[in-house]
Amino acid sequence: MYAFDIKRPSKLKKARKILKKNEGAQVLGGGQTLIPTLKQRLAAPSALVSLARIDELKGIRQKGDELIIGAASTHEEVAADGTIAALSSLAGGIGDPAVRARGTIGGSLANNDPSACYPAAALGLCATIVTNKRKISADEFFTGLFETALRDGEIIKAVNFPIPEAAAYEKFDQPASRFALVGVFVSQCKGDVRVAVTGASEDGVFRWADAEAALAENFNPAALEGLSVDPAGMIADIHGSPEYRAHLIGVMAKRAVAAAG
């Protein structure tokens, strides 16, 4: 790793100040993605600003028909909450217990790994990503492979999830890393049906429009019979071909609808 200092402010304002003052300073969430990146010298921040001591970024609470999750909440904390069962089960299926004890929802969304689980939940539930500056709809937040709408130095404060009538996430594990080889999040919320797919596309998480239309008519796995996804633009690696992933999307979507229904 290159050398850097770690700052541990206890106020969000202070964190913002440090980021402004130090060009090239970067936010540190749980470090579960950032530390391996730093070890490979793929990043050379001038300083890391840890969010771990900032109480404003912590806690999970229900407000009206929304679940508000502080950005520094760990996967383990979200798994234990249970207000949205599909979301808690997704969080409880990330990596392993040690990863879940450190990794945070804010870090996962900011990173937007094409095989990460949380992006599917955020898009599949039409969550709102609340930053120190603005509110961003999940539909606008994910802009491509490891790319988001976040600007330099912008910090995710919380993620607001509408509480759905029905939802489920089904992940086909890549057995070595336990990231999603393909993961599908489906939900029914205020009459809207969403189907969000992770692990499959070279552009990262996306909504499967044909499946949403079919399920809006009939929220049943049978409604997906005969639908297929174009393998063009799907990820190709040693774990699976684009055709394999395209096929898995249909399989996981049906399982998710069955689990949600």
């Binding site: 470090g31 530390i35 771990a52 392993d96 040690a98 450190r102």
Partner: protein, 160 residues
């Protein structure tokens, strides 16, 4: 360099560390506590698992500075006060839960975290909990058996 202070196995410690000093490096090089191993150093193998405020953490994937003020528990704290093996350690020895022993500190610390949450885990729960701990020697069977034994349970033998 800044001074980083924490409690390790109940004892207050304070050592100078760089911003990029990992908790694993802090323990092994700063404190000379080499019971915590480093295998992959890429957060894949779990041999470096310690507890931070009661939660299992891969110490190669956390900065020492982030453990400032924390209660850290390592494999060195797993033995009984008189130096004899603790319950989980003894169960590993009795059930041949280790061969070369390299993965064992991480296995024992993960097992201890699991048993603290779930005193009588099923075999499937043990396997799921150990998904981040790799062993190149044992084939896992005897590790699972050891953890079942440590929780006062026997392994169900498959019908012949």
């Amino acid at each position: 360099m800044t001074q980083v202070s924490m409690t390790v196995n109940g004892k207050a410690v304070s050592v100078e560390a760089e911003g990029n000093t990992l908790l694993s490096t802090f323990l092994r090089e700063g404190l000379g506590m080499t019971g915590t191993h480093v295998g992959c150093d890429t957060s894949q193998c779990g041999v470096c698992v310690v507890h931070v405020n009661g939660r299992p953490v891969k110490s190669c994937n956390m900065f020492a500075a982030e453990a400032e003020g924390a209660e850290v528990a390592t494999i060195e704290g797993m033995a009984n006060e008189d130096g004899s093996l603790g319950v989980i350690q003894q169960a590993f020895q009795d059930n041949h839960g280790l061969q070369c022993g390299f993965c064992t500190p991480g296995m024992v610390m993960s097992a201890a975290a699991l048993l603290a949450e779930n005193p009588k885990p099923s075999e499937a729960e043990i396997r799921a909990y150990l998904s981040g701990n790799l062993c190149r020697c044992t084939g896992y069977h005897n590790i699972i058996k050891s953890i079942l034994a440590a929780s006062g349970q026997e392994m169900k033998v498959a019908a012949e």
